[in-house]
Structures are given as C-alpha cells and as structure tokens.
C-alpha cells in the first residue's frame, strides 16, 4: 500500500480527472474512486477534529492542573 497524504491525493485525483476527460478511464471507475476519496477525506476530517480536541485537552490540563487524556478507541496495534 502506498502512503498517502492530502497533497499526493490531490495530485492523484487530478490525474484521474484528466484521464476521465481523455476517456482513459470510464465514468464508473471515476465515480468509485471519487467515493473512496470521500472516505479518505472523512478520515482526514476525523484526524483534524482529533488534533483540535487534543489542543483543547492540553489547555484544560494547563488551567485546571488536570491530567485528562484523549482516550484511544483503537488502542491495539495490528
């Protein structure tokens, strides 16, 4: 599996858009890839929200001298 970040995904999606314009891939494939990208975007939104929550917890801990931690739902390493 190739590691992906936002920028590489934008480049990939633009490449696919170009391929679609040149009829190198069909609409169905493009749609499926678009839907997959949507899922990746949802994960990214989750990561951004998580980072924001961590910032909020840091502030809370600093103000109230607390030791709150963001619970990891997926704590197991696969």
């Amino acid at each position: 599996m190739i590691p992906v970040n936002n920028k590489s995904m934008i480049a990939f999606l633009f490449g696919q858009m170009n391929k679609l314009d040149n009829d190198e891939i069909d609409v169905l494939k493009a749609r499926e890839q678009g839907n997959l990208a949507k899922q990746v975007n949802n994960s990214m939104k989750y990561e951004l929200d998580r980072a924001k929550t961590k910032m909020e917890i840091t502030k809370h801990n600093a103000i109230y001298k607390d030791v709150l931690d963001l619970r990891d739902v997926e704590s197991k390493n696969f």
Partner: protein
C-alpha cells in the same frame, strides 16, 4: 525556455485586454486575434501540466473567500454559535408592564421600541445590565472574527493548492461536479484546514 514563453503569453494577454478597451474599432479585431492566440497557448500549457498559469484577480478573490469559508465553518461558526446563545433578544420579558413600554410600530433591534424614560428604576437597571452583557458578548464575537480574519491573512498556504483550486473551479464552471471533482474539492478544503490548524495552534487553543 518554455516558462519564458508562458510569461510572454501572459504579458500579451494582459496588455491586449487593456489595449482593447482603448483601441480604435479597426484595431480591435487584430488585437483579439493576438489575444486568442496567446490564450490558446496558455490553455494548452494549463491542460498539459494540470495547472493554471493565468490566475485572474477574480479567481484570487474567490480563493480567499474559500479559505475564509473553510475556517469559518470549522472554527469560527461553532465559537460564535456558543456565544450568541447567551445574547438576550427578547427584552420585553425583562420589564414590568411590557406592553405599555414597547411600541411594535417603531423598530428597535428585533422590531421593538422601548420608551426608556417610562421605565421604572428596577427595569431600567435590569435593561442596562442585559444590554451591557449583550454588548460584551457582541464585542467578544467581533474579537474572535477579527483575530481569525487576521490569522487567515497571515497563514501561508501552498501556492500550488490555490492553482489546483482555480483549475478545479474552471473545470466545474459549466457542469455539476462529479464525485471525483467533489472529492478533490473536499481534499483541498481539508488541506486548507490542516495548514491553518498547524500554523495557528495558539489561536485555536486561546478560543477553545
């Protein structure tokens, strides 16, 4: 070499557009031919390299609006929403004999007008207190907006991201975006949010 040519074509299109506005009618046709030739070259370059070398000022403006919309949606709106809940709008509930003190025909804030001189001292104090509280909240909201607005302007976004957005917006100008284009748009929005979040951690913590 190619980049020099592209710069030349950019210059030609800019100059031609200016000249067309002030030229004689018989010269306009000639100028349009030159303009179209350079435009064609730029379009071909854009298509080949999946980029946009001739971003217009309008497109730059739209890009700035997109940035603000993303930041407003992900940071400011929730903060403003939380604060706005505490603003008291229905001041009629706070005064004695409200019907006599207010006149619906005149307008004041949300359609009510009150005769301050007719209020009893207790009500006057109550109103003053509420108005002070409302003003304080409104000032806080404005401060949040100003701070984020300033942060938006100071944040350095990847230049390529802007070009990609402009390219996308040109592509979807004449049709409804397909799932692939929608995904690109969302990815660009995420990248904007990520960049902002990375560069403005202190501001976000301040208002969290």
């Amino acid at each position: 070499m190619e980049s020099v040519l592209i710069e030349q074509h950019k210059l030609i299109t800019e100059r031609c557009k200016d000249l067309i506005n002030v030229s004689l009618d018989e010269d306009v046709v000639f100028l349009r031919q030159i303009l179209n030739k350079s435009k064609k070259e730029l379009d071909e370059h854009n298509n080949e390299n999946l980029t946009v070398v001739d971003v217009t000022s309008k497109e730059s403006g739209i890009w700035r609006i997109v940035i603000k919309n993303v930041i407003y949606g992900r940071h400011i709106n929730s903060l403003v929403g939380k604060l706005s809940k505490h603003i008291e709008h229905d001041l009629v509930d706070f005064v004695c004999d409200g019907d006599k003190m207010y006149d619906k025909k005149n307008t004041w804030n949300d359609g009510w007008y009150y005769y301050e001189d007719k209020l009893c001292n207790t009500c006057k104090n109550k109103l003053e207190k509420i108005e002070r509280k409302n003003l304080c909240i409104e000032n806080n909201i404005q401060k949040i907006r100003d701070d984020f607005h300033e942060a938006c302007n100071k944040t350095i976004f990847d230049k390529d991201l802007k070009l990609k957005y402009v390219l996308l917006s040109r592509n979807i100008k004449n049709h409804k975006p397909n799932p692939l284009e929608t995904a690109i748009k969302e990815t660009i929005h995420n990248e904007i949010a990520k960049t902002f979040q990375e560069q403005n951690e202190k501001l976000i913590i301040k208002y969290s």
